[in-house]
């Protein structure tokens, strides 16, 4: 099935047009090379998002394939009122949550999981960190600590933090990609950041009790 080319995405005018718009238009007309360019442009990001959410490499590989295939099949549904990347991220997040659900053998997994019941908008651990946590660990130890720490966040926090702080989407784009309101994204982001900070404090806090307790 080739994507339909009947819908206009956006006509080049006086406003600056994102280069993806032309690639999407060509891909809709069946230009596979244009779609391949989009794949090469965003596959690393989709893989990273999928790994962050599923915490499983094989699942992340499957998500990359399924997300791009789904995007290709649904290209005619892309309205062009958001960036192509934001639209793709939404597909990738849904595919990732589906994989996570399968792995948990049917246990409900959604971006709302565990986020409504926890307050956590105020920090509990008041410890300051050492002057340079990066000198306390080598790069691979540090990466392992960061991976382990984010793994412990509920998916609803993990996904917001990943899109906003790892991928650098704006609050509005994150809200659009997740189907959440801007205040909901802000609230989850705060709690995600504070939880991560608190968990990282176990590794980075000042030694000899010279932090604020």
């Amino acid at each position: 099935m080739k994507p339909s080319a009947t819908e206009t995405i956006q006509l080049p005018g006086t406003e600056e047009v994102h280069p993806d718009v032309a690639l999407v238009a060509r891909a809709r007309e069946g230009d596979l090379q244009a779609f391949e360019t989009l794949v090469r442009q965003y596959d690393r990001q989709v893989f990273r998002i999928a790994q962050h959410i599923t915490q499983n490499k094989e699942d992340a590989e499957d998500v990359v394939q399924d997300a791009f295939l789904k995007a290709y099949e649904k290209l005619h549904q892309f309205q062009g009122n958001s960036k192509f990347y934001t639209w793709l991220v939404r597909i990738a997040v849904n595919e990732s949550l589906m994989r996570l659900r399968k792995r948990r053998t049917g246990k409900m997994v959604s971006i709302d999981e565990d986020v409504e019941t926890e307050d956590g908008s105020m920090p509990r651990d008041l410890a300051d960190w050492g002057p340079d946590p990066e000198q306390m660990y080598n790069q691979s130890e540090l990466a392992e600590i960061l991976r382990k720490t984010i793994q412990g966040l509920p998916p609803g926090f993990r996904v917001v933090f990943t899109l906003r702080d790892v991928e650098g989407l704006s609050t509005e784009e994150t809200a659009q990609a997740l189907g959440l309101s801007v205040p909901a994204v802000k609230s989850r982001l705060l709690r995600a950041r504070l939880q991560l900070r608190e968990r990282l404090s176990r590794y980075f806090r000042k030694k000899n009790g010279d932090g604020v307790q």
């Binding site: 099935m1 080739k2 596979l32 779609f35 391949e36 794949v39 090469r40 596959d43 690393r44 893989f47 990273r48 790994q51 962050h52 992340a60 590989e61 990359v64 394939q65 791009f68 295939l69 290709y72 099949e73 908008s121 105020m122 920090p123 008041l126 410890a127 300051d128 960190w129 946590p133 540090l142 990466a143 960061l146 991976r147 984010i150 933090f161 702080d165 790892v166 650098g168 609050t171 802000k186 982001l189 705060l190 950041r193 504070l194 991560l196 900070r197 990282l200 404090s201 980075f204 932090g211 604020v212």
Partner: protein, 77 residues
């Protein structure tokens, strides 16, 4: 300003989206609250740790394999 009010504005502060009287209130709170000062700094460091590191790189060989598989599936659509 209370600590809760300060925390609620932390993202806006990081994004430099507060100005005027509100910014002055935030600064005043920070001067008098070591707890919020530490939390702000360590939270900023937390964000930087994750933003500046590639925790899940996609190896070239895997990337190539995935791209071939994706395009093959698209061709069959």
């Amino acid at each position: 300003m209370t600590c809760s009010e300060f925390m609620a504005l932390l993202d806006d502060l990081f994004e430099d989206e507060v100005g005027g009287d509100l910014r002055a209130d935030l600064d005043e709170h920070l001067r008098g609250c070591e707890h919020c000062f530490i939390t702000m700094n360590t939270t900023r460091q937390t964000i930087e740790f994750y933003a500046n590191r590639e925790l899940y790189p996609l190896p070239d060989t895997l990337r190539e394999r995935l791209e071939v598989a994706i395009m093959e599936k698209c061709r069959r659509c």
